[in-house]
């Protein structure tokens, strides 16, 4: 643990008078797995949107690696190493699993029109190929590499979504329900890979409805309800918190 990599301060996001996120403060330790749980409509995805530049916050600031990234365009936030996934499994449907990963792993200078005209991209593909092969093997997707994303079941698309974003070498990855729709046998592989990237030094922030999955991998958990953080702690502390049991876990525990 080397200090906070992401600091969210008093972030508020109001849609038409309704506060989706209300004064949230979160500080994420570098090299940790942090989970945000909470019922539907608690503001988890809105928080992700604000942090990654897809929505402008009404109030508050977001600092990443000590730098103010509040309100930057999504591609700029991403280039600073803060990369998210999306709740809906889509990716690039007309591309194969393989091509999806390569798009994630290809640097700007090999992807420009100019590089294509000159054919100057081939030198960069080799290293990307090797990494893509490794990530696909880890997720058990190697045999599906030539399948178009449009032809994959949603659960597999979710795994590809995670794999593709990993290829971009984020310093921190924000996973929006990575396990939803993923079949149980693959969830274990997903959890193993998330722990593995954490051990390699990546910071992970994850939202999911699968409480067992989230509590199994998280070092620290924040519970959101109605736009606010109502509890924070280790998974063990959070499941024992009476406020949390009442508002959220009560129905499933």
């Amino acid at each position: 643990m080397t200090g906070p990599i992401l600091e969210v301060s008093r972030v508020t996001k109001v849609f038409g008078g309704v506060g989706a996120v209300r004064g949230v403060d979160i500080s994420i330790e570098a090299g940790s797995i942090t989970a945000v749980i909470g019922p539907n409509g608690a503001g988890k995805t809105s928080l992700f949107n604000v942090v990654t530049g897809f929505e402008q916050p009404t109030e508050g600031t977001v600092r990443f690696q000590g730098e103010d990234v509040t309100g930057l365009e999504p591609w700029r936030v991403s280039q600073k190493g803060l990369i998210r996934t999306f709740q809906t499994p889509t990716g690039f449907p007309a591309l194969s699993v393989w091509e999806n990963l390569l798009v994630g792993g290809t640097e700007d200078r090999y992807e420009s029109l100019w590089a294509a005209l000159r054919g100057a991209w081939r030198s960069g593909e080799n290293a990307t190929d090797q990494r893509a092969r490794g990530v696909l093997s880890d997720l058990g997707l190697w045999d599906l590499r030539d399948t178009l994303l449009a032809d994959l079941p949603p659960g597999d698309v979710k795994l590809v979504d995670f794999a593709r974003q990993l290829m971009a070498r984020p310093a921190m990855v924000l996973l929006d329900e990575p396990a939803s729709g993923v079949d149980p046998s693959s969830i274990d592989r997903l959890a193993t890979l998330i722990r593995q990237v954490r051990d390699d030094g990546m910071t992970v922030l994850v939202i999911d409805h699968n409480i067992g999955f989230v509590l199994g991998i998280a070092d620290r958990v924040h519970v959101m309800s109605l736009g606010r953080i109502i509890a924070s702690g280790t998974p063990e502390e959070v499941v024992r918190d009476p406020v949390v049991i009442e508002t959220y876990l009560g129905t499933s525990a």
């Binding site: 990654t52 897809f54 365009e73 999504p74 591609w75 700029r76 991403s78 280039q79 990369i83 998210r84 996934t85 999306f86 889509t90 990716g91 690039f92 449907p93 007309a94 591309l95 194969s96 393989w98 091509e99 999806n100 390569l102 798009v103 994630g104 290809t106 700007d108 090999y110 992807e111 420009s112 029109l113 590089a115 294509a116 005209l117 054919g119 991209w121 960069g124 593909e125 190929d129 893509a132 092969r133 590499r145 030539d146 178009l148 979504d161 593709r164 974003q165 971009a168």
Partner: protein, 314 residues
């Protein structure tokens, strides 16, 4: 007999020109997802800039720089690229339908300008006497063969260029963000910059190939650049297979051969009006049949780009 043969030489030349336009449209619309309804306007810009800067015979216009042909082609290309930049930057910032409407309006503005700026464009009279390249090599019907060869040489060059672009990481990215812009941006891709680069390249190319069309028709008037050019190109692309590699060429060949041959049917004076509309009936029927039985077109994107991972199996 030789008349029929020469007629088909003309048909194949026009089919080649539409194959080129459809390949450029495939780049911007098929791969990058920018639905350009104003390509006729970009071709018009290229065609007019070319003819104004190079023509030697009409001296009743303000601008007569008498440039050599290569400079005129270059000027037409640059003008097409500039026009694309000017309409692309504001309309690509907002997505989808704004681009569609802007390009449609742009083509109409260019057409009206070409009619009303008579002192530069000779209005509806247009330019009808100008020299064509390599005219000393062949004359009369021989030149029609020469133009056919020239056009199909350009078809091959443009095809090889498109294949190079389509199979590169750039082409892969275009076909990716076409369907999912947020995911591309979440990966740090400046998708709008790629769109603008692509549209400017399309503008440069439409401008550069416009002289082929001008040489084939042998006049430059506003009626050359109506929205019919845009819609025939779109139909060729859809029939051949949008976002594929060979589709634009196959679609243009089939469409132009079928519709132009329909126009060959001879008839009495009363039938002339009916026969004139036969082209459009045939065009519509071909489109309906392809959409019914091959909705992706005769070729498709899936097959054109299959097996991308082959190089890692070694």
């Amino acid at each position: 007999m030789s008349g029929v043969l020469l007629f088909f030489v003309g048909v194949l030349t026009l089919a080649g020109i539409y194959a080129i336009l459809a390949m450029i449209l495939n780049l911007e619309a098929g791969w990058a997802g920018m639905w350009d309804l104003g390509l006729a306007g970009l071709v018009a810009v290229g065609g007019y800039v070319f003819i104004i800067t190079t023509q030697q015979t009409h001296d009743d216009v303000i601008l007569t720089p008498h440039w050599p042909m290569w400079a005129g082609i270059l000027a037409g290309s640059v003008a097409g690229g500039l026009a694309a930049l000017i309409i692309g930057v504001p309309s690509l910032r907002v997505r989808g339908e704004y681009f569609l409407i802007t390009t449609l309006a742009f083509a109409e503005v260019i057409r009206q300008l070409s009619i009303n700026l008579g002192s530069v464009t000779r209005g509806t009279v247009g330019f009808n006497q100008f020299s064509r390249p390599f005219e000393s090599w062949a004359s009369g019907s021989g030149y029609r063969w020469l133009l056919l060869a020239l056009v199909w040489l350009v078809v091959v060059v443009v095809y090889l260029l498109m294949r190079r672009l389509g199979r590169s990481p750039y082409g892969r990215l275009l076909r990716g963000f076409r369907d999912n812009d947020p995911v591309a941006r979440s990966l740090g891709k400046h998708t709008n910059r790629h769109r603008i680069h692509t549209f400017v390249l399309a503008g440069l190319m439409y401008g550069a190939v416009a002289p082929l069309y001008v040489w084939f028709i042998r006049t430059v008037t506003p009626s050359l650049f109506t929205s019919e050019v845009t819609f025939v190109t779109w139909t060729a692309l859809v029939i051949g297979g949008i976002a594929s590699l060979r589709g634009p060429v196959i679609g243009a060949l089939i469409l132009l051969v079928v519709t132009e041959t329909a126009a060959l049917v001879q008839g009495s004076g009363e039938m002339a009006v009916v026969l004139a509309s036969v082209r459009f009936i045939v065009l519509g029927m071909v489109l309906i049949l392809v959409m019914r039985f091959r909705p992706e077109g005769l070729t498709n994107e899936r097959d054109a780009f299959a097996g991308a991972s082959a190089r890692v199996r070694r």
